[in-house]
Structures are given as C-alpha cells and as structure tokens.
Symmetry: D2
Subunit: 141 residues, 4 copies
C-alpha cells in the first residue's frame, strides 16, 4: 500500500457554478494542490525540483465524479504515488467531503519526467535519491 | 463516423501558467465550450435542455496531452457524440492549434442523463426527438 | 482602527501566468477568501447569512498592485470592514507575501446588502445583531 | 471621444457561480480579452509588444457592477484607451449583454509601461510609432 499524503481546501463561490456545486474542472487544480503537498512533504518542493532541472508535465488527467462538492465544504485531498517508471509516474487522488467522509472524486494524473527541454529523463540514474524517496512511499506499509 | 462540430477560442494570459503554456486544467472548460456548441448546433442549447428538465452532469473526464497550447494561440475544438446509451453519453474532443493543425489534446467526458434530482432518465423514452438527433450525429457518414 | 481578520493561501501553478507571476485577476477570489473568513470569524458564515436571506453582492471591486506574487508563495490576506451604511458595506484587503511581509496588493470591495431578490435591506433594522457585530469590528481599538 | 474596439465572449458554466450568475472575478479576464483585441486591432498584438520588450503590467483594476451576466449570455466588450502618459496608460471597458444592450459592468485598468525588468519606459521616446497610434485612438472623433 502506498503512503497517502493529505491536504485540504475550502470551496469558495469562485469554485461553484450555476448548478450550485463545485465546477467539475476545478478538481485539476485541487489535484495540483494534493500533488504539490505530496512533494513538499517528502522533501522535494516542486519549485526546488524545477530549479534542479526536473519537470513533471501532466500527460494524462482522469477524474471520476461520485458526488458533488458544495459551497463552503472543506475538502480533504489524499494524494499518493503509483507506478513509478523510468521516465514517468502516476499520482493518484481521492477527494472527500471532510465532515462526512464521503468520497466525491477519485482520479489520477500521469506525468512525464523530463528536463526543461521536455526530453525524458531517466530519474533513477540522474536523481537516484529523489527516485528512491518516491519509490519508498509506494512500498510503504 | 460521427459528425464533428467545431468551435474555437484564443488563449489569453489568464489561461497560461508560469511554464509559459496553457494550464492543463483549462481544457475542462474548453471541452465545455465544444460540448455547448455541439448541443446548440444540433438545436438543443444546454440552457433549453435544463429548462426541459434534462441534465447532463459530468461523471468522468479524461484528457491526454500531446503538445502545449501557447499564449495567443487560436485553438480549434472538435466535439462529437459517441456511445449514446440508455442514460449516459460520451462526448469526445480534439483540440488543435488552428494555424498549424497540430493535435494538442484529445479526450472525452462521460455524462449521466438525469432529471434535476440527478435521477437517471431514459432519454429514448422521455425525449425521443433529442435522443434521435444525437444518435443521428453518431451514425453520420 | 478596524479589527483585521487574517487568512492565507499558497500560490499554485493554476494561479500563475506566462509572466511567471500570479495572474492579476486571481485577487478577486483571494479577496473572497479573506471576506469569507472575516464573516466566519465574527460568527456569521456566508452560507448561514444566505439561508437567513441576507445577500452581499459585490457592486465595486478595486485592486492596486504593488508587487507580484510568485509560484509557491504563501500569501497572508488581511480583511476588515469599513464604512457600514444602511444598505451597503465596504470590505478592505491587504495581501502580503508571508515570509517577507511585503505588501503585494491592497484594495476593497463594496457590497450592497440585499434580500434574495436583490432589493436593498436596511440591515440595522432587519438584522440588528449582525449589524452591531460588524460595526463593533470597525470601532475596535 | 476615444475610438472603442469591440470583442465578445459567451458565458459558460465554468464562469458562473452558485448565485446563478457570472462570478464577479471573471471580468478581469474579460477585460483582458477586450484589451488584447484593442491592441491587435491597432496593429500591435500583445505577444509582439512583449517580444519588442514593451510590457504593460496592470497596476490598478476597478470594476463597477450594474447587472449580472447569466449563463449562455453573449457579452459585448468595448475597450478604449484613455489618459496615455509618459509611462502609463488607462484602458476603459464596458461589458454589455449583447441581445438587450444592457450595461452589466464598466471599469478600467491602469497599466505601467515598462521594459522586461519592470522599469518605466518613456514610450513616446522609445516607441513613438506605437505611442502615436494609441494616442490617435484617443483623439478619434
């Protein structure tokens, strides 16, 4: 079982739509918050990775919607790594309504691991420490 | 082959991010524009559908990123229906850079077909005309 | 001196633009976060006010930009009430970079105080308790 | 009378909020669309200006809200230059509901005119042609 990392946000008016729920497109940015906190918590803030020449562009986004988030809901975002490969990694997410624990959305983003010219980078060779620290969260029990 | 419907937008500063490209989460709203124009062009603006009690909540969003969109790019959005079922429909999308024709993104949204209480609606029975008109775009050749 | 209420956010990629800074339009939603926390902290969450039939539509927004916010910056948002009148109130804001304390932006929103039909409401008469609790934050020393 | 330049957008679900209207913060990006089209129509697309080293960072944003924009409304955005000075310019905006002509919002943005290091630039001296072409829209009759 991979180790999950948690962050949270509160739904504001700007996030809602005329159906009275959080607009479905907002979860892309809430996944970003989850992923950013994952990286920060394992010791590699994304801003630092970028400075070291490691980019993680999103190549695939998948979101499955179960229940709507409502105005003023506090959302709990779980994020964990999965399927770390030579030059790609999958990040998985679950977004729950904090008070009730209901699952609202799950999904994943697939990221290429590249240099700033977007050329694939063999992370295990070029940044073995980061590779191992991400891998350790996946094998965590 | 399903009939494709086209719309377009221009990437503004608000859409870009610090990587200098369009933020990946924006495609959810550009898919919405494509889908809205599809419905309008076949004669069922979404605002009208809602008034008639037909809701199309997004239950799944999938986006595959091929190339980044850049500031001031004009994007061509193709949208078409696929796999119309009893109480669901899949809408597919291709977003291209208009000038070069490069494919930037493709993906789909899966929609439940519901009443305003989010109960599944058997579209073929309750709104056969709309069902048939969507179906006709799929069988189009 | 009015009493200031504080909240905070962290700038994510979705908030930045191709200049490498937070897009100037985002401050409208960050002001909303500040205002929402102001109301919650004085005991009147906006969701509750709405249920009681008190709406606070924005009728004017003014933002003055001093310094840009950058990716991953933590922003401190101060919000306070000012100039509470019969059927309107001004909320003022300062957004600072948390680490350095630099002032990035200041501004205000002016709100009408209305019923759900957007008719002006004489708050002092219809909800004197809320009126007095807001007024108390202004006279605070 | 300054010459007005026109552009338009359609309000999508992503733009609306739980009040059923366009979120007030969206006008910052709609002003951007108006301003971008102004520059393009006078022959200086913003992307080109940037390449030539002319930046126009927003230093002030003022929006006055008269009427709400609704889902699926087509909005007409008028934009014109005003008060062009040594190293700053004001751009004014009116956003109307296209069908009815109702004024929804007016406002302005004040821009510094700078080099890429954000140092003020005396436009009249460094880019007299651009200065004169903007000035000509203000004196237009």
């Amino acid at each position: 079982m991979a180790k999950k990392f948690y962050s949270g946000i509160r739904v504001i008016y700007a996030d809602t739509d005329a159906m009275g729920i959080a607009y479905h497109g907002n979860y892309a940015k809430w996944f970003e918050i989850g992923r950013t906190e994952f990286l920060r918590q394992i010791g590699y803030p994304y801003a630092t990775l970028e400075k070291e020449g490691i980019w993680l562009p999103v190549v695939e986004l998948v979101i499955k919607y179960k229940q709507p988030a409502l105005y003023d809901d506090i959302l709990s975002i779980a994020c964990w790594a999965d399927d770390l490969r030579g030059a790609s990694v999958i990040m998985r997410y679950e977004v729950k309504r904090k008070v009730s624990g209901e699952l609202l959305v799950d999904g994943y983003t697939k990221h290429a691991i590249t240099d700033p010219d977007l050329k694939p980078m063999l992370l295990k060779r070029t940044k073995p420490e980061f590779y191992n620290d991400v891998a350790a969260t996946i094998e965590d029990e």
